[in-house]
């Protein structure tokens, strides 16, 4: 592994100045993905690491409209927050179904949004073909054994999955990301933060080098909304999702008045199921409606033999989550 210099920044602007000025520098937060990729796999090799975890970016505040979370708040800290439990229960569920307590004590909210894919081909330096790691070399996952891979937003260029659980309810909620750069702060909706791989799988989000996530702003659910996060995986705990659904609905007189849907375990980016929301809105809360919504959610998937099962699994996961949250029995 390449040697690197380690720096603790005192202020966000100082951290941004250091990384912006050095193309070889990168941020370090909890390190639970980054150090793995650096120390163990040699996939990342920055020459300078700026530790952001002692920056004054650790806070959670709530007002009538939103919960604001400093970027270095840990996943465990956010899960323990009373306002999150009361007003955004599916965010709490997604946090507590992520990783393990040890990892959640280390991992930050900003870092969670920046986590790299778990694609085994991306993480294996012996694999030649990886458009994300080495643009133009192809995608070994499309032709090799695949399972923990994406079916939505995917193509023959890249099927690497975004494995964040937290980001799934956050995209459904229209979370806003505050990004600090040399010229100041800009605010980007999380639904526009991630970029589908297209022809440039190496470009994963809208950040330019040196920009730092300082805060996320999570709009609260409408009064009367009910939410749930359902995660389906190969073992009961401490495992990534094969498919997951974050759903929040408002039902009045057995009619769905509002619906927000995110899907996990299936997308190259945390997936907002806009078409499914349109099917649900102002429709009767019924099994038939839920199935129509699921069809709309997983339209035009890109599958390989190892991921074909996810089409049906994602639909059933969403349908079950909708049954749970509406208490409409099948």
């Amino acid at each position: 592994m390449r040697p690197f210099e380690y720096i603790q920044a005192a202020e966000p602007a100082q951290a941004v100045a250091i990384v912006t000025a050095d193309p070889d520098a990168d941020y370090l937060a909890g390190g639970t993905t980054q150090l793995d990729l650096m120390l163990k796999d040699g996939i990342l090799s920055p020459g300078r690491l700026v530790d952001v975890t002692r920056l004054p970016l650790k806070w959670i505040t709530a007002d009538a409209g939103a919960i604001r979370v400093g970027a270095t708040t840990t996943m465990e800290e956010l899960a323990a927050d009373p306002a999150v439990s009361a007003r955004l229960p599916f965010v709490r569920e997604a946090l507590l179904l992520s990783a393990s307590v040890q990892l959640r004590n280390m991992a930050t909210i900003g870092g969670n949004l920046m986590q790299r894919t778990r694609c085994r081909y991306f993480r294996d330096p012996a694999v030649e073909a990886c458009n994300k790691r080495r643009p133009g070399t192809g995608c070994a996952a499309v032709t090799g054994p695949a399972r923990m891979h994406a079916i939505l937003g995917a193509s023959k260029n890249c099927i690497a999955l975004n494995a964040s659980d937290l980001a799934v309810p956050l995209v459904a909620l229209d979370t806003i990301v505050h990004i600090l750069g040399p010229a100041g702060v800009r605010r980007v909706p999380l639904t526009e933060f991630y970029l589908e791989p297209g022809n440039t799988p190496d470009v994963e989000n809208v950040l330019v080098h040196g920009e730092l996530i300082t805060e996320i702003e999570i709009p609260l659910l409408r009064a009367g909304a009910r939410s749930a996060y359902l995660k389906v995986r190969d073992r009961t705990s401490y495992e990534f999702a094969l498919a997951s659904a974050a759903v929040a609905v408002v039902v009045e007189d057995k009619v769905i008045r509002d619906a927000r849907i995110g899907l996990g375990g299936v997308g190259t980016v945390p997936w907002r199921a806009w078409d499914a929301e349109r099917v649900l809105r102002d429709a009767p809360a019924s099994d038939a409606t839920f199935r129509d919504a699921a069809e709309a959610a997983v339209r035009d998937p890109f599958t390989v033999p190892g991921t074909a099962f996810k089409v049906e699994l994602a639909k059933r996961t969403l349908v079950r989550a909708l049954h749970t949250v509406t208490e409409v029995t099948p």
Partner: protein
């Protein structure tokens, strides 16, 4: 915390780290790449903390930093400057074993024993978090600690017993 070498053309960058480990202040001058796990085992002779997968998947390297359980294999030693670290060696007090250590022995909560320090340190964290109310919760919130011998049922039993007595 000081950056001893800012010249990347020169020697390998080092960091100076002062940690309080098991109640005792320790100062280290080390390559910035060294993990807390390797610093504990190779520099400080604290080999109770185990290196299992060394990539954040098994929990054998679990220690407490400032009272919270973390994975020492994915923590840079440099990050721990000024922090309080508790390892399995620091768990006993006044020469007596920690109640969890006794319970693990009584319940035969291990076979090969390699995951055991991590299991016990994780369980110390669990009790501190107040999350050992049921077997289901113990299983869920201990899921970051893998035991390939499969001693899980006895591990849960040991933790349940200590939790029922009001923790540590």
């Amino acid at each position: 915390m000081s950056n001893v070498d800012n010249d990347r053309q020169g020697a390998i960058p080092e960091v100076a780290v002062t940690m309080r480990i098991n109640g005792k202040s320790q100062r280290l001058q080390t390559d910035a790449r060294v993990t807390l796990l390797d610093a504990l085992r190779d520099r400080l002779g604290l080999t109770g903390t185990k290196k299992g997968c060394d990539q954040g998947a098994c929990g054998a390297c679990t220690v407490l930093v400032d009272g919270r359980r973390v994975l020492s294999c994915l923590t840079l030693a440099a990050k721990c400057d000024g922090r309080e670290v508790l390892t399995i060696e620091g768990l006993a007090s006044d020469g007596g074993r920690h109640p969890l250590q006794d319970a693990f022995i009584r319940h035969d909560a291990f076979q090969c024993g390699y995951c055991t320090p991590g299991q016990i340190m994780s369980a110390v964290g669990l009790l501190g978090e107040g999350r050992a109310d049921s077997d289901e919760d113990i299983r869920e919130f201990m899921s970051g600690n893998i035991c390939r011998c499969g001693a899980y049922s006895n591990i849960v039993g040991a933790i349940r017993e200590v939790a029922a007595r009001g923790g540590a």
